[in-house]
Symmetry: C2
Subunit: 488 residues, 2 copies
């Protein structure tokens, strides 16, 4: 059925040359506009072994200033890669605003190879397809241009090319075992590719089938599609994107104002439970390490709610080689230049490890929302995007624990004042904290909305009543233990 | 795998009642806002036989003013339906702005039934899936809220319900043969449904799986999803939609200014060819009638370019029982209240018939664009939407012939003046024609863009050089004949 995919018609040599020239000139001009308008462009090159991706890529990038692009060659995933979530190694390669990334093989190859060689189950395959669709759509929703090319040659042509490469000492190394396997099982591969192309042919990121028999003609197809795609993306660059319907199972969760904060714990009970739970958590840390289960603990809460001390009681119970705490401040320029979830993807643990985030991706719908660091459309879209992100982590097998550390306004004032008046604590209090405090009501509203919209059944929120910090610490430890035990 | 689909958690009876009440009240308020904001809402109810769609629908609509909704019960397609393009019978049912349509069974049932009972081929299935995805996306892009519910019950529950219905004279009629067949082949049906739900689970119109074992609980799931969906759609109601990458094979076509208009034909040659071609076309009309091939001829062109006379020479050759001419003026209120392609879907011929459109859906990117009858985003989006519309017709098997009737500015002036000065022709010339003439250059630019962006390989444009009307008529006849012959 690949035949039915829309293809351009190959022109005569003379017309081909003149159209090539025109497209190249256009691309040269476009790269400047891309830079100015800060458009990120991700070009995915997939296709049959020996279809000529590399050599054509070489031709394409000649028309672009080397400072404006990067080529990412995605070899087979390493053991290390395999301990990260699916798509991790691709997500971290996405381009910065204003730049191109050309990716030589990507998630198509990962998924189809696994399906062809290791009999990935239908269920697993469908899950992957969903992940891919969400990933690509998140990119395009966030202003990325994603262009996906599949280089197509027929069985005979592939065989001819492979034999030619093999016959020369200097090119022999370019033929992989997989290439040869592909050619031997061409029909089977074709079916799997076709199915994949259909399954991931999204309106915002469609597949372009490239007739790669003639290299110059292949080059023209790529260039003209690229140039056309950039024009469309530039027209979209200032548009807001319609919000999606929520498709995730949400659990009811009370509003902050309905949460009673008078819970306390006696000192001796605290000491006893602390020891008990920390020792249990320490055992569990060994177990998740052995069973290669990743754990992600996310902390959000009011300033001076006691996040730091709470996190400390968790980490005290963990083997230092098996966890990392990520304090999240405002994004750096290279982080700001990418999808806002990029810096969190970048900090994901490997399987068997624990990552603790002191402030998180929820900044998008709190501080970024309230301080105007992103557009209204950006933060409104973020609820679904975050649910999708966490779905990805859950599908990977992660235990996800999200804490909201809750105190009341008076308690915050007490703690602020104490910090102000205690020399060794003064570093903990800044003018910004006081400014944020003035916006308490707005924040409370935003937090309530966040809790309602992101309390999914696979990544629930847990509110820690932290007027009594000790109570909150014990509850946190207990929650972490319970959530890990559920998974084991 | 249906189990994995996100479902809400069934609450206790008391909470269920209070949430039901809340959702009903919310819906009652929303219907007014929907009316004010002119949001069209299409709710699709699909699912197993005896899953209770009907009775729950009855409960839902109780909360809506009868003037604001319509229920469309889609029985199995009739013979007449089958002679129209796939989705025709659904497209014509889409709601007006500000109103609900509840569709009891829709395109899921059509496709899966065909696949289950008549062994629809994989190729045919994929084509239908593509059509469905485009259809739903076009609706949401054009501001429709599309909510898709699948009522799920397990094999045992279905059996129990069917037996109960059968055991009572008064309800026996409600059990169809297909319901019984479904239950007998439950596993097979489940697989096909699952695949379909995955294949059509789009981000802008996701599926909601409804646990339909308990009716009150099913009602709550529907109501809460509906209410949530309406809130989201209302937030989107003023947003522009990002333009899509072109995914259709486009052919190169010259600009209007590069088309030479000095082509003429001598009177005697004209008479001779006219008779020859008309007689051939008449033969072909019989043939397409027998072979049930639909033909769509679309005329666009400058005022006074000679469209009317040209169309006449075509229709003279046709059997009056087998064609219809649709003169397209500005849309009426009930047409304006729907997707702009609705009035063209509504006028599609049945197989074996010829439909001639005197002005067409291309008005969107010409007059509507230039007179500001739609937003910039609307007409920019229309190129892809129109290509998709014509793809639908091509996939159906239609011969699509698109004419641009071209004259130069001087010729138009001559003809306008002649009309003005000839009493029996004065009705043909209006102030609007003169006003349009003033915008000639803007129109020419719009027409050129239209030709470039919609000259697909499956629905090409043909320019008729009509400074010499007779030349244009002969060329039109010849083109129609050739295009039909290609198909036969």
């Amino acid at each position: 059925m690949l035949k039915d995919w829309g293809r351009m018609e190959k022109p005569q040599e003379e017309e081909l040359e003149s159209r090539l020239k025109k497209a190249r000139e256009r691309l040269e001009k476009q790269q400047i506009i891309i830079k100015q308008k800060q458009l990120p462009v991700l070009v995915l090159l997939e296709g049959w072994g020996a279809a000529g991706k590399g050599s054509i890529l070489g031709k394409i990038i000649k028309n672009i200033d080397p400072r404006f692009f990067k080529v990412a060659v995605m070899d087979a995933p390493t053991q290390e890669d395999k301990r990260k979530p699916f798509l991790y190694r691709h997500f971290i390669q996405i381009p910065e605003a204003g730049k191109f990334v050309f990716m030589d093989s990507g998630w198509l190859t990962d998924v189809t190879k696994e399906r062809l060689k290791n009999d990935m189950s239908d269920k697993e395959y469908k899950k992957k397809i969903d992940s891919i669709k969400r990933f690509e759509r998140q990119l395009t929703d966030n202003g990325y241009l994603v262009l996906k090319f599949f280089f197509h040659i027929d069985e005979k042509e592939q065989k001819k090319r492979l034999e030619k490469l093999l016959s020369d000492k200097n090119t022999k190394w370019r033929v992989s075992d997989y290439d040869l396997w592909q050619n031997k099982h061409y029909k089977k591969c074709l079916d799997v590719y076709e199915q994949y192309l259909c399954d991931t042919n999204q309106s915002s990121a469609p597949w372009y089938l490239i007739d790669a028999k003639d290299r110059k003609w292949a080059q023209l197809q790529i260039l003209e599609t690229l140039v056309q795609g950039i024009d469309t993306a530039l027209m979209n660059s200032s548009l807001a994107v319609p919000l999606l319907q929520n498709a995730f199972p949400l659990k009811q969760i009370p509003k902050l104002s309905d949460i009673s904060l008078d819970k306390t714990i006696a000192d001796d009970e605290y000491e006893q439970l602390l020891e008990h739970y920390q020792s249990r958590l320490n055992e569990l840390h060994n177990e998740i390490y052995r069973k290669k289960i990743p754990v992600i603990i996310a902390y959000e809460g009011w300033d001076a709610a006691g996040k730091g001390g709470n996190i400390k009681r968790i980490t005290e119970a963990l083997d230092p080689r098996g966890y990392e705490v990520h304090p999240i401040a405002s994004p750096e320029p290279h982080e700001k230049a990418r999808h806002y979830l990029w810096r969190f993807w970048n900090r994901l643990p490997k399987t068997g490890h624990v990552a603790i985030f002191d402030r998180t991706w929820y900044g998008r719908v709190m501080v970024e929302r309230l301080e105007g660091f992103c557009s209204e459309n950006d933060w409104q879209r973020a609820y679904v995007e975050i649910n999708e992100f966490e779905k990805e982590l859950a599908d990977w097998g992660a235990v996800i624990i999200k804490f909201w550390v809750q105190i009341d306004k008076d308690t915050q004032l007490e703690r602020f004042t104490e910090r102000q008046n205690t020399p060794e604590k003064q570093w903990k209090i800044t003018d910004e904290d006081w400014r944020n405090r003035e916006k308490w009501d707005l924040y409370e509203q935003a937090v309530n909305e966040m809790l309602q919209k992101t309390n999914t059944s696979y990544a629930e929120w847990h509110v820690l009543e932290s007027n009594d910090k000790k109570y909150a610490r014990i509850k946190a430890l207990k929650t972490v233990i319970e959530e890990i035990e559920k998974k084991l």
